[in-house]
């Protein structure tokens, strides 16, 4: 391979420069923009990218489409705020319990259905998420239909209760960086290859010695843990969760769309998708007020149609296509 390293070396260096520049821009821009509305959107983009990247592990890389990931998000959000309601804990201290519950539920939904082919897993995830929402609505101890709140006034830094959106932006961004580093490391090794093989042709993958069931379940567990952590961070920022905002099916759909728009099964797809979707949603909400929520659904519907019709691989596919065209012209 020594012959190949000579022409790719400048390109690899270029990629490093580009990466460092992008990272610097991501770190610096909120400090340069004074508008809190925009900084807040930035924090929400990171939060959305976090949940969509977590979904991407099982839905993108392994190709097992979960439409009930809000279940894990809700576990994290509720664990945080119930920890405060019951024991006056700082919300983030509830996160490990949210993760533990999520792992347990992931095992329950994944063990039987990931054995099966087809849409059983997708259907089971929707069913369990909706079941959880209905149980919470009807259980006063879990806040019922009203929801649960966090501390009204911050008691210490541990409460992660800040007036400025900036700390949230950097906290969410750091967790996202950890998740993306893990995803990158995973995608280059055996697990990444095995998950993509399972997504491509599960029967063929198994005949090559890929223990498909075990790998799919492991991907689901990691994904559920990070989604749950996202829920806990969300609860710490918003200080409130109810069955709709913590367990509503629209949240599951948002994770799928953000990942699919940017490119499911790619490292930065969910981040790119979130960077487009979240500002769009916040601006329609701001422009149309409460009545604008309906517009959001219409936009999502349109995005689903456009992606599946023109670019099933999301924007990443268009990007690869453009680059291939560019190289052909340049060469």
């Amino acid at each position: 391979m020594s012959a190949a390293t000579i022409p790719t070396a400048p390109r690899a260096a270029g990629r490093w420069v580009l990466g460092v520049a992008a990272l610097a821009a991501l770190l610096a821009w909120p400090l340069l923009v004074e508008d809190e509305f925009i900084q807040r959107i930035g924090a929400l983009v990171m939060l959305s990218a976090l949940s969509a990247s977590a979904w991407n592990l099982v839905g993108g890389y392994a190709g097992q489409i979960s439409i009930g990931h809000v279940l894990f998000f809700g576990c994290g959000a509720y664990a945080s705020l119930l920890g405060f309601t019951w024991f006056e804990w700082a919300p983030i201290l509830g996160a490990p319990f949210g993760i533990a519950t999520s792992l347990l539920l992931a095992l329950i939904v994944g063990s039987p259905t990931l054995r099966l082919k087809g849409h059983y897993f997708s259907m089971a995830t929707i069913a369990l998420a909706e079941l959880a929402r209905i149980v919470v609505v009807n259980t006063p101890a879990l806040g019922g239909a009203v929801g649960v709140s966090g501390p009204a006034m911050p008691r210490s830094v541990l409460d992660l209760s800040f007036i400025s959106p900036l700390p949230y932006y950097y906290i969410f961004g750091s967790v996202l960086a950890v998740l993306l580093l893990f995803t990158w490391w995973m995608s280059r090794g055996r697990m990444g290859f095995y998950l993509r093989a399972i997504r491509g042709q599960e029967r063929a993958a198994r005949s090559l010695g890929v223990p498909a069931q075990r790998y799919k379940l492991f991907a689901l567990l990691v994904s559920a843990a990070f989604t749950s952590l996202t829920g806990s961070l969300y609860a710490a920022m918003l200080g409130f969760v109810d069955p709709d905002s913590g367990l509503g099916i629209l949240l599951s759909v948002k994770m799928v769309i953000a990942a699919a728009l940017g490119g499911a099964g790619t490292l930065f797809g969910p981040l790119v998708g979130s960077a487009i979707l979240v500002p769009l949603e916040e601006m329609t909400n701001a422009a149309f007020g409460g009545g604008g929520t309906g517009i959001t659904y219409v936009v999502y519907g349109a995005i689903i149609v456009l992606i599946s019709r023109f670019a099933p691989g999301g924007l990443a596919e268009i990007w690869t296509w453009l680059r291939a065209r560019g190289t052909r012209r340049g060469g």
Binding site: A204, R206, S207, G209
Partner: protein, 248 residues
């Protein structure tokens, strides 16, 4: 395990779809170093039997031993671990991955680290002549290259025994000759082969032993040239009208 014990042995395999017995008490013992050709008319049960040998399907009754272990109910991945690899009748390559990445999936079975798997995949790619398309997306390949990739990917698992399911069907005569060469080289590496094939030329020129299926049973086996002249085989497989002029 004694030296003369079969590498892979199926005993009294029965597979039923409802009341229809696709495989009806078939047995076969394969010794190390053999090239076995499984032949028979369409619907004879050879593909179903093949899938039992590969661990893809579990028989209703009967037993299968691989390298002295009972694998009748073992998963396909356990078969791979024990040294059995297969190709698919309809190529099942991973379209979104490059040829090299496809082969790496196989290589990861014995080489858990990416760098070692990549190096092992490189060797297999050179051996199977896929070097010119190694970086191509496998979804962009034509049928001959896909079939070759299937074999390469299976070889990357470093099997003792390789099962080829119509790996040469749909190829032009030139491509068939190239594929026969490849199979010979694979055999020269000490890999035992089981081949399901419709192309008679392939069985006649490659197989040490032809095993003829009809109606779910093994009706004859032996040297390919003897088997194709067996009256029962001619009647079942080649049709009665050919019995007066045996094939070349």
């Amino acid at each position: 395990m004694a030296d003369d014990a079969p590498l892979l042995e199926a005993r009294d395999i029965v597979v039923a779809f409802g009341s229809f017995r696709a495989v009806d008490g078939a047995s076969l013992a394969i010794r190390k170093g053999e090239i076995i050709g499984l032949i028979g008319p369409n619907g004879a049960g050879k593909s179903t039997f093949f899938n039992c040998l590969a661990g893809e399907r579990q028989p209703a009754s009967g037993s299968i031993m691989l390298r002295g272990r009972d694998v009748t109910r073992a998963s396909p991945e356990d078969h791979a671990l024990l040294g059995l690899a297969r190709s698919w009748q309809v190529p099942a390559v991973f379209d979104d991955m490059s040829v090299h990445e496809n082969v790496m999936v196989g290589a990861f079975l014995r080489h858990p680290h990416a760098a070692e798997a990549a190096a092992a995949a490189d060797q297999v790619i050179d051996f199977t002549g896929l070097r010119p398309v190694a970086r191509a997306r496998s979804g962009s390949l034509g049928t001959p290259a896909r079939k070759r990739l299937e074999i390469a990917r299976a070889l990357a698992t470093e099997p003792e025994i390789l099962l080829l399911d119509e790996a040469l069907a749909g190829l032009t005569p030139t491509e068939v000759r190239a594929a026969i060469d490849l199979v010979r080289q694979i055999h020269a590496r000490g890999i035992t082969l089981v081949i399901v094939e419709h192309v008679m030329e392939v069985i006649l020129s490659l197989a040490h032993r032809a095993v003829v299926f009809n109606q779910g049973k093994v009706i004859a086996q032996g040297a390919p040239r003897d088997v194709v002249q067996d009256p029962g085989v001619i009647e079942a497989y080649l049709g009665r009208s050919l019995s007066r002029k045996p094939p070349a």
